[in-house]
């Protein structure tokens, strides 16, 4: 098996002005994380809100340079603070951002959002072909060619999330970093997107880094799981190992808090609520 992504002792510091209270200070959001992912596999990153998942994801996707440590893509050490990634590297690594609205330009039509990466990185592709590739991609994520000329604000939350996924797939990346890509999707569309990702992985051997707080999604999609808490990897292993035998308290807490949808639990809750109301 070939390792296509590796992180060695990655750290990230944020410098924050103290704002209303006290002076400036440095916050270490990622504290020396190591990982490696094999070609065609999915590493899921799980962890509490604010634990550093997006921070790490942005480093892996070559958006932000880490404060310390080494990032290897292929077997090549990549340091974007020294050298900006070229078009070849840019098309190889793509990211789906956690907040789709913020990552879309409100004045840019969706068609142009999708064709722009091609225009920049693969200028040999004709305009006509760009458009047909974009329309085909819209269909793949459950939208349609009729959406080509719309602006971002004309979409629902879940539709925008799918546009962000479509944009990232346009360049046929080999490594895709997805930050909570299905969190705003209803289960059926979520299923459609997860199926699409699984198909692409099978067909093209794509490698995924998949940030999610949803354990049922992680169980479905992951090969390996890394649990991070306060910037540290507190648990790392194969999906089977982590799900069968979670060792860190946070991981256990995650499992325990998963909402229950069984009818008896609902019946009990409804009865309790009715009793509380009757008592008023």
């Amino acid at each position: 098996m070939t390792v296509v992504l590796e992180g060695r002792n990655i750290t990230q510091d944020y410098h924050v002005s103290g704002g209303l209270f006290g002076g400036a200070k440095t916050v270490r959001a990622v504290k020396g994380i190591n990982f490696s992912v094999e070609k065609g596999k999915t590493l899921a990153i799980v962890g509490e809100s604010g634990s550093g998942k997006s921070t790490l994801a942005r480093i892996i996707a070559l958006i932000d340079a880490p404060s310390g440590g080494d990032l290897l893509i292929g077997s090549e050490k990549v340091d974007i603070s020294q050298k900006r990634p070229g078009p070849e590297m840019r098309s190889r690594v793509q990211m789906v951002f956690q907040n789709p609205y913020g990552s879309l330009n409100p004045r840019q039509k969706i068609g142009s959002v999708l064709t722009e990466p091609l225009l920049i990185n693969k200028p040999e592709i004709s305009a006509e072909e760009r458009r047909s590739l974009a329309e085909a991609m819209l269909v793949k994520v459950g939208l349609g060619p009729e959406h080509y000329n719309r602006y971002p604000h004309m979409f629902s939350g879940g539709q925008r999330q799918r546009i962000a996924i479509a944009r990232a797939l346009m360049l046929n990346p080999s490594l895709l970093v997805l930050d909570e890509p299905v969190s705003a999707l209803d289960l059926s569309v979520q299923a459609q997107v997860l199926n699409l990702l699984a198909d692409l992985q099978e067909e093209f051997g794509l490698t995924y880094v998949f940030v999610s707080h949803d354990l049922s999604v992680v169980r479905y999609i992951a090969d390996d799981v890394m649990v991070i808490s306060q910037g540290e990897a507190v648990e790392q292993g194969t999906r089977e190992a982590v799900f069968a035998n979670p060792t860190h308290p946070y991981t256990r807490q995650l499992f325990a808090a998963t909402p229950v949808t069984d009818v008896e639990a609902i019946r009990a809750r409804v009865a309790k609520r009715q009793a509380a109301r009757a008592a008023v």
Partner: protein, 278 residues
């Protein structure tokens, strides 16, 4: 007693390719102290129908309804000034994309204090104290420090909790929460849901919870409305919905839970409609 009553609400958008009907004759009612969950496929008009109530749709939207009233007052006939008295105070909304609804140029502390000063008439000092208290309630870590942070310096889930804090600041009588916990892991989700439910019980607040998460529905709702393609497909009390879902889309929603995956593919709604057609 219904606090919000909507009858035959239709919302159309003018688009370059003609008019598009996003909400098609929806009826909704929510009582004081009730929790109504709205579930439905992506793009089925959940957010748009509630933005219509808030008066926050763009000019390209045409809204018609036989009735849209809050506490007996006709929202359609209200002047802008009258509506402003309600919106943001008695009726508040947690928006679906938190970071897009925060202003990137101001600290989150400044933004929540603005809301408290303008809408509740608090002094600067009281607003600061209350903002801190709210940040603690929604579980933002190092709350003092985070009051001084800009939105881009907060994580996705932290921004979402800032929005929640703003929406509950005025102790609204009707809270519309649009996918309020999508960016939160289950442990924090539970804390937020418990908080919303306790506010709801304490003040008799009515809560409309838009969500795609059937776990959230199971843990909060009294009644559930299922929407599909701009229309209401099913409405039931929460127990009946889980016990005996009627509409194929509802059944698909419950079956598409990834934990129910059989083999390596997840079922989608079209699988269900195809089944129904056989």
């Amino acid at each position: 007693m219904a606090i919000l009553k909507i009858r035959n609400l239709t919302v159309r958008f003018a688009t370059s390719t003609g008019s598009f009907t996003a909400v098609d004759g929806i009826d909704t009612e929510v009582d004081r102290g009730e929790v109504l969950a709205i579930v439905g496929e992506s793009g089925s008009g959940k957010s748009v129908s509630m933005l219509a109530v808030m008066g926050l749709l763009p000019d390209t939207a045409t809204i018609t309804a036989d009735e849209m009233s809050y506490d007996g007052h006709d929202l359609l006939k209200m002047t802008k000034a009258e509506r402003r008295q309600l919106i943001g105070r008695e009726i508040t909304m947690i928006f679906q994309e938190p970071i897009a609804s925060l202003n990137p140029s101001f600290t989150v502390g400044f933004q929540i204090e603005e809301v408290l000063r303008l809408n509740l008439g608090l002094s600067r000092r009281d607003a600061r104290a209350r903002a801190l208290e709210l940040f603690k309630q929604v579980g933002i870590p190092s709350p003092e420090e985070k009051l001084g942070a800009y939105p881009h310096q907060m994580s996705g889930g932290q921004c979402q909790r800032v929005m929640i804090a703003m929406a509950i600041a005025s102790k609204p009588r009707l809270l519309i929460a649009d996918e309020p916990t999508t960016a939160l892991d289950v442990t924090i989700q539970k804390q937020i849901l418990d908080l919303l439910m306790s506010l709801q019980e304490e003040y008799g607040m009515a809560l409309i919870m838009i969500t795609h998460d059937m776990g959230v529905v199971a843990e909060t709702a009294d009644r559930v409305v299922v929407q599909y393609k701009g229309r209401k497909m099913e409405e039931a009390d929460v127990l009946s919905l889980f016990e005996a879902p009627q509409h194929p889309y509802t059944r698909a929603l419950l079956a598409a839970l990834p934990e129910n995956a059989t083999g390596d593919r997840l079922p989608t709604v079209s699988d269900f409609f195809a089944e129904g057609a056989q």
